[in-house]
């Protein structure tokens, strides 16, 4: 046989025991050709474009899952930023567009649709303002819609007016979905340096530099990396990095295979493979447990940031060799509620928001799925977002913040979201105020490193 039996066994073990899967196939669809001054026509055009483009997405994913015997967990759609697409229409708010996106997602049976998005790192147009004002209603009155707002970039700096505005939007979205512990905030992300080709929610949108339609694939596999490391307890860190690289290569190849083939079957361009380690609430499928497998007693203990830096870098090095086109966020994800190891680390008082913030400096995301007390002041939320934006802007990396101020919950309580979103303990927040800082408004200018032309 051209393959040896050990290799075949390894692949099967990865899929059946270590939960290797394709986390998402996301079709990016440009809505630029849907623009119309008449809001009703605009909505109709959008529905038609999505239904025509991605109508077969779920069937194709199902067929590939059977052919290769690898689960394809999520099927998603991302669209052009609605703030721009709806701007020249006669609509006063964009909730009707949110609803038509949700309806289209429902009818083609995809899990989520992203792109209820505005890019406001330097300032807002009237369309951006309308979109941002529409977010709390748009999210709370739909099921599958995801929203993202980019408020900072390494080139533009941090739009602090937008940061404060988004803190208000986060609070209101939590309150409108209070019955489910503020779940609406799980579908809303505040970004710095937002990627145009990210297949992962809630931050997926279809950028203006992208083709008309494209297939982007997000892979997974923290369980595979953890299982590999647990076999080698006494090797030095250079070899740990080497092992992670090899494993990341193998995982990413699956994304490359499925990405190429699904794009061909759908007749669209293959986009990027996002080589991210995305955890789920399933036991073992955890990034925190990879860190612990390296020798950290509990995620959050001293050494955690170093271990995560090693992991994140090795994933990229291994993954970059495995695909001709990397993109999206590409790195290790550290969402608290979606990762059982992170949840346990918080419950054991090992992991705090401040430590998570440090960790975001060396991985591909920001403070993600972090539940905070429902009575956290808006200005404090703005301060937490601003800190995260500063780390991303200075380090020239992407970062998304998903904070959930769970209404009525306080430190020690638990917010429960279910499914892939998991549950999260309410984390304590520093009680001193930053109101006088964030209320100044204006913009924090881009760092000197932005002057690189």
């Amino acid at each position: 046989m051209w393959l040896n039996t050990e290799e075949i066994k390894e692949t099967i073990e990865m899929i059946q025991e270590q939960r290797l899967d394709i986390r998402t196939i996301t079709m990016g669809i440009s809505l630029r050709d849907c623009i119309d001054p008449d809001g009703d026509k605009l909505a109709k055009n959008i529905y038609r474009k999505i239904a025509d483009s991605a109508g077969k997405l779920v069937d194709v994913a199902g067929a590939l899952q059977k052919k290769y015997g690898i689960p394809i967990v999520n099927k998603r759609v991302s669209v052009s930023p609605i703030a721009a697409i709806a701007e020249s229409s006669d609509l006063d708010d964009y909730v009707p567009i949110a609803k038509v996106l949700d309806q289209a997602a429902h009818d083609i049976n995809v899990d989520f649709i992203g792109g209820f998005t505005a890019l406001v790192q330097k300032g807002m147009t009237p369309g951006d303002t309308k979109l941002i004002d529409s977010i709390p209603r748009a999210i709370s009155e739909t099921e599958r819609l995801c929203s993202s707002v980019n408020v900072a970039s390494s080139k533009a700096g941090i739009n602090m007016d937008a940061v404060l505005k988004m803190a208000e939007v986060v609070k209101e979205t939590a309150e409108r979905t209070a019955k489910q512990d503020g779940i609406g905030c799980a579908k809303l992300v505040v970004f710095a340096n937002i990627p145009e080709d990210n297949p992962f929610m809630a931050g997926a949108y279809h950028g203006f530099g992208e083709p008309d339609k494209v297939i982007n694939v997000g892979i997974s596999g923290p369980g595979v990396v953890r299982a590999t490391l647990e076999k080698y307890l006494n090797i030095d860190l250079l070899r740990v990095a080497e092992l992670i690289k090899q494993t990341a290569f193998k995982i990413t190849r699956m994304g490359e295979l499925i990405g190429r083939e699904s794009a061909a079957m759908l007749g669209v361009k293959p986009g990027v493979v996002d080589l991210s380690l995305a955890p789920t609430p399933t036991p073992g499928d955890s990034v925190a447990q990879i860190i612990e497998a390296m020798g950290i007693e509990r995620c959050g203990a001293p050494g955690t940031t170093a271990a995560l830096a090693l992991l994140n870098d090795a994933v990229k090095k291994g993954g970059a060799m495995a695909t001709s086109s990397t993109g999206g966020l590409s790195g290790a994800f550290i969402p608290v509620s979606e990762d059982l190891g992170m949840v346990e680390a918080v419950e054991a008082s090992s992991l705090t928001i401040e430590k998570l913030e440090a960790m975001t400096a060396v991985c591909s995301v920001g403070l993600d799925m972090v539940v905070i007390p429902g009575d956290t002041p808006t200005e404090t939320i703005a301060g937490i977002i601003a800190d995260q934006m500063a780390i991303a802007v200075v380090n020239r990396k992407a970062a998304g913040v998903r904070l959930i101020p769970a209404p009525g919950k306080k430190e020690g309580d638990k917010a429960v979201f279910g499914d892939l979103l998991g549950f999260g303990p309410v984390m304590p927040v520093n009680r001193f105020s930053c109101a006088n800082f964030v209320r100044r408004g204006g913009r924090i200018p881009a760092p000197l490193t932005s002057l690189n032309n």
């Binding site: 393959l3 692949t11 290769y68 015997g69 690898i70």
Partner: protein, 91 residues
Amino acid sequence: MKGKAIVTVLGKDRVGIVAGVSRVLAENNVNIEDINQTIMQEFFTMMMLITVDEDIISIASLQEKLNALAEELGLKITVQHEDIFRYMHRI
């Protein structure tokens, strides 16, 4: 259109595993190109490289037929297109 796939059979050893799997394959015009089989502590492991004529049967339908056999014999049988292994282990 012909495609190559790998069949893996795992489970407790018993009489008739190879015969049973081969019968299902033959009935569906599937050719066996290579077989590798071992038994370790009564644990049966078999891997087959097969050629499937997808105009006659798809990998998905073949998997369904083998699922019925797997249930009957108390085994785990999977059929996967060979590319998943090729992509993962070969550059």
